[in-house]
């Protein structure tokens, strides 16, 4: 665990340095982006000086590290708010979306794997799942919107909440609704989160489902399964009580990997569904060369990725008592 945390610090520092160097590589000019396309050169230079962008990169990075030590990620060029505050505003939405997406990805994947373990060839379900996961995500997302919101009007197609004036204590609307005694909010939040999270969940479901079913398949041929079967245990219990936990390691590792791919897909899905999360924030920050914001979001994603992977290893060691942390 300690090794992980030390690794986290090193990796985050290296990553932030890379992103910092990026600004000298990238053709975009943050000062110009702040001053506006029609501002005279003198104004741009003034802005550059005020933002400290006229300093060498290494000096800027040093300042950044000093600020970082105080928990300050700087001020966004675009929103003029502290980046930490911006991230604080957008993170709950993204976390909520990500967790629901991972949940929606894992549950059918596991279900399918179980199905496959009990019936050797549930061809149709598997092929359907692979098919859905083979679509470009922007097309999947839009087709979902078109079908379930526009045509069928079953679910809302964008946004995070239909209500205009709600903000709860945790920022997770699904939870806050219940916490504040307004279950309607939670239901509404659930309706809103469903489509974007399904779009995100499909590729996850395919990847996990595949890993899971092959792991389960392998496990179900182990000697201890034969022992258990020899005890006269029913097939269902065999799979659930004996198979699942032993087959968990590889799919868990896959969750870690998928979370990384999820970050890329978030940018697109949040855009299409107008989801007020970090993905949208990142896209806009990139568009306006908002370096502090880009750096901040990258760090959050990096830390999230590492946290997820630490959690994955934790889960693996929980699932399999032979794995030491």
């Amino acid at each position: 665990m300690f090794k992980h945390l030390a690794g986290l610090v090193v990796v985050v520092l290296a990553m932030s340095f890379f992103v910092f160097c990026l600004q000298s590589i990238l053709p975009a000019d943050p000062a110009r982006a702040v001053a506006g396309p029609t501002a005279p050169v003198a104004t741009v230079e003034a802005v550059r000086e005020r933002l400290g962008l006229d300093q060498p990169v290494i000096v800027q990075y040093g300042r950044f590290l000093l600020r970082l030590a105080k928990g300050d990620l700087g001020t966004s060029f675009r929103t003029r708010q502290p980046v930490t505050a911006d991230i604080g505003k957008h993170l709950p939405a993204t976390l909520e979306l990500m967790s629901v997406a991972v949940f929606l990805g894992v549950v059918p994947a596991v279900a399918l794997a179980l199905l496959q373990a009990s019936f050797p060839r549930p061809g149709l379900a598997r092929v359907a799942l692979i098919g859905l996961g083979s679509m470009p995500i922007f097309l999947t997302a839009l087709l979902l919107v078109y079908l379930f919101w526009f045509k069928l009007a079953w679910l809302p197609g964008s946004g995070r909440l239909g209500l205009t004036d709600f903000s709860g204590p945790t920022g997770f609307n699904l939870l806050d609704g219940f916490l504040t005694g307004r279950p309607g909010v939670s239901v509404d939040a659930f309706a809103h989160i469903l489509l974007p999270s399904i779009a995100l969940a499909l590729p996850i479901a395919v990847a996990i489902g595949r890993t899971m079913s092959s792991a389960l398949h392998e496990v179900m041929q182990q000697a201890y399964i034969r022992t258990a079967r020899g005890k006269g245990i029913g097939e269902a219990r065999l799979v659930f009580a004996h198979g699942l936990r032993n087959a968990a390691t590889a799919p868990l590792a896959m969750v870690g990997l998928q979370v990384r791919l999820l970050f890329g897909n978030l940018l697109i899905v949040e855009r299409i569904f107008g989801w007020p999360g970090l993905g949208n924030y990142m896209v806009q920050s990139l568009a306006s060369s908002d370096l502090p914001a880009v750096l901040g979001v990258s760090m959050v994603f990096g830390v999230l990725y590492i946290i997820v992977n630490i959690a994955v290893e934790l889960c693996q060691s929980l699932a399999d008592p032979r794995i030491d942390l």
């Binding site: 000019d29 029609t38 501002a39 929103t79 505003k89 526009f150 999360g277 060369s289």
Partner: protein, 517 residues
Amino acid sequence: MRSSCGDHSATRSPARLWTCVLGAILGAWVVVLPVHAQEVLRIPLFGDIGTFDPDNGFEIAGIGVINSVYEGLVEYEPGSTRIVGSLARTWDISEDGLTYTFHLVEGVRFHDGTPLTAAAVVKSFERRRDRGLVLSYFLNNVKEIRAPDDDTIVLILHAPQASLLDSLASPWGPKIISPTALDAHDGGNAATEWLNDHAAGTGPFKLGEFRPAERYTLERSDDYWGQEPFFSRVEISVVPDLSQQILKLKAGEIDAVPKNYPIAQLFSLPQDLEITAQPSMMQFSLFTKPGSPLDNPEIRGAVLTAINPALWIKDAFGKYASISQSPYQNMMFKPKQPIAFPTDVAAAKAAIARHGEVTLTIGLFSAAPSYGRISDLMMAQLAEIGVKATSRVLPQGAAFALKGKADAPDLLLTISSPDAADPDNQAGVFFIKDAPGNFYGRVLPQADALVKKASGLKDAAARTALYEESGHMYFDAGYFIPLVDANDVVVHVKGLKDLGLRPVYPPGNIDFATVRK
């Protein structure tokens, strides 16, 4: 799990449970669906409003929102480039063009109740000019801001500037902010922090909610000094994806798609939608790199033949654009001698054939769909005469870093639209030496001299003549190829009238004060 018919426990019966959950979801969401009162206007935005501070950020999409909360001394009349009074009832300009005197409208109050006085104007102007804010350059030429009495503002310039009124009328021009608010929230940073997401202006609307990435709402200001707006509330939601905006419009969840509506789909709109189009300052034009194949006059002639906008304007814009007549927007002035493209395609083909393989790269200023459409058409046209052209969307802001770069694209396709309607603004932003939008950093001193001369003149006709001449010089020198002036096209629900689109505003900025049903 088995479910028995007589079992009333919901947890024991999955089917029943699901019915309940589904019912609850559907029920809740029917309740939740917003009930639209007649006087609510729902408008989408592609992105956030970065900052609501009128002095400290160059907002594009949200500038109309800011302008319906804040007002300046003067403004452009809807649908034209004529300057009319806003908070200034009347104004006088001294003979030497150095002193501007404005007389304020009476009985105006800020949204926080503070009455509008000349001192408030001075405070706002000084904030804009002196506090190191982003848009300070609008008042760079103002030497002195005085308030001789409560209703009079006097501006004294460093040098004559025929375009000063345009600078003041510009959507990004100086706005008047409540001095009470400025004092209360100064915080050593000229209240920039507070004004990011709060507002205290005099406009027809007050800022309601400010939820970046989700929605902004404007509420009608009850004691507005001018004509009361039709809509009592404007809901501006962030919908980053165009397809979503279109679907939402068709589903009746929003009232308009203010910009980027695909041209081809304008001809097959559903019954309940209509189009409001208005000429704008959006001129699509090409900047050429020094050292590009176009330096060769023969190739240049051939390329101009192929990309002649007359050949493709209908495919790209239908009827919603006009061919540019000069490097200055058609809305600025009507040139006596419009720019002409050669038309002999056979000759162009022959010319290219003589030169062996000619390749051109086109950089697109942004990923907005109209750029792609135009460049696709031009590339197809160029392919007809044997020029191999490729295009690429430049990363955001990269256009401003093309100067002196060897691998920069040969041509840059961009929208040249100035921040105010005077030709001086156009030349100052795009053509003269060191202009921010002079993307390849090309210099043509003779033409720059004409522009400089024109900016100090008072006689409008004489100025226009000078500008037209400079335009021809920039074009003939091969710096700049104007293509088309696109219209501002808003698709909206039927019955929406008086959208108040102004040519100088970025496309799609509906005037919430005038729009009505």
